[in-house]
Symmetry: C2
Subunit: 241 residues, 2 copies
């Protein structure tokens, strides 16, 4: 039975980290909220599972995955579940915890990236927190982005020089690719300065992009383009000069 | 062999969520960074594991746990590992993922709580982002705290009315207790308004506080008091009038 992914239909967002794992594995899945309401899909089907009074384990927010009767929320938790099943996680328990730990650090990074344009409240418009966003983004590009990228660079170095965990692709590698792609979209100028310091992370991202199934996915209509509603947004005033 | 917990010695912080699980289980553990340097403990021992070039799996930040040769970082990941071993997690895989999903939602909540006093950058002083903090805290108390607490209330209602997952205490229950205690410390006025709407969450917190090992821990010097360096800080100007 196909996996059912539930996520907002018009953005990559946090759902993209799950999509990349499903695509790399060639797994059968339905991107439910992008389907038609008349087929029982669409955003309505997603909200019904979130708000339905008969859902025993309601997710706090999308994305969530349905596998038969099981509903799993929280991006990193979905990847913990899928990683083992899709052959995208290390084999033994200690190494799986390590891969999950890396994914949780990606999660923290993503939240900080999101907050570059929404530092005050996710419920307010960007325009209503633009001044705070400028200040946040300046600090983020100076301190935080290099700190996170430097961390992942070090992890790759201490591993095999090419992957984050083990000697094959695991789901945190796919997520790091997405983060680097997203940063290049959102902060092209700053990334020109920052990226050369982290050649192994950049090489990892390039290698992921070239994997046959990922390359096919990126060229397909299933890949939603980066846009101004997602986590990664290009606001010229937030980038470096 | 005793577990070794590594966390900043002068705050509850994220380490407290791990301490509460270890204490509830009566597990033997060493709070390493609170020990003496001359015994090979203290903050130096913690930093050595974080920055040491020979650590294969370096954590991004404290807390981390050492169990024999295994080093595990990220609070929720530590609890995923310990929960099963300490009898504080559900027995089957689906329910364990659910408990972990709840913990990851607690993690998101904690980050937003932290950002009430540090909305621009964790590396800047509160005084240098006080205006932004006021705006952030206003939105947080109006929208986000009720949203998270309402979510956990609903989860308890759909479970047994007393716990988040299953019919015994699991590690997310301990964490929800800590969050509610922390919010009461940081925002006493706002919590007077907010808390009555979430009676089951409040009752869960009260029940956790009365558990014999937790009560003994809270009364012991092992429990660091809430203070102005942790996640939960009392700044009168950020609370409601």
């Amino acid at each position: 039975m196909a996996y059912e992914l539930y996520y907002w239909p018009s953005i990559q967002g946090r759902g993209e980290f799950v999509r990349l794992a499903l695509e790399e594995a060639g797994a059968e899945y339905i991107d439910v909220a992008r389907g038609q309401g008349r087929s029982g899909q669409g955003v309505g089907a997603m909200l019904a599972l979130m708000d339905g009074g008969d859902v025993a384990h309601p997710p706090f927010a999308p994305p969530f995955l349905k596998d038969g009767d099981l509903i799993i929320g929280q991006t990193a938790n979905i990847l913990l579940y899928l990683g083992a099943r899709l052959g995208l996680a290390p084999a033994d328990e200690a190494d799986r915890l390590w891969a999950h730990q890396l994914q949780l650090t990606v999660t923290d990074f993503i939240k900080e990236i999101h907050d570059t344009h929404h530092p005050i409240a996710s419920g307010l418009y960007y325009e209503d927190q633009q001044e705070e966003a400028k200040r946040y983004a300046t600090e983020f590009l100076r301190e935080r982005a290099p700190k996170y990228l430097g961390y992942f660079e070090r992890v790759i170095e201490r591993n095999d020089g090419k992957h984050l965990a083990g000697e094959t692709v695991t789901y945190p590698d796919l997520s790091l690719f997405q983060v680097i792609e997203g940063l290049r979209f959102a902060f092209p100028q700053a990334m020109e300065r920052i990226e050369p310091d982290y050649p192994k992370a950049a090489a990892l991202a390039a290698a992921v992009a070239k994997r046959p199934r990922i390359a096919a996915y990126l060229a397909s209509p299933r890949r939603i383009p980066f846009n101004q509603q997602g986590i990664f947004r290009r606001y010229k005033e937030l980038d470096e000069a």
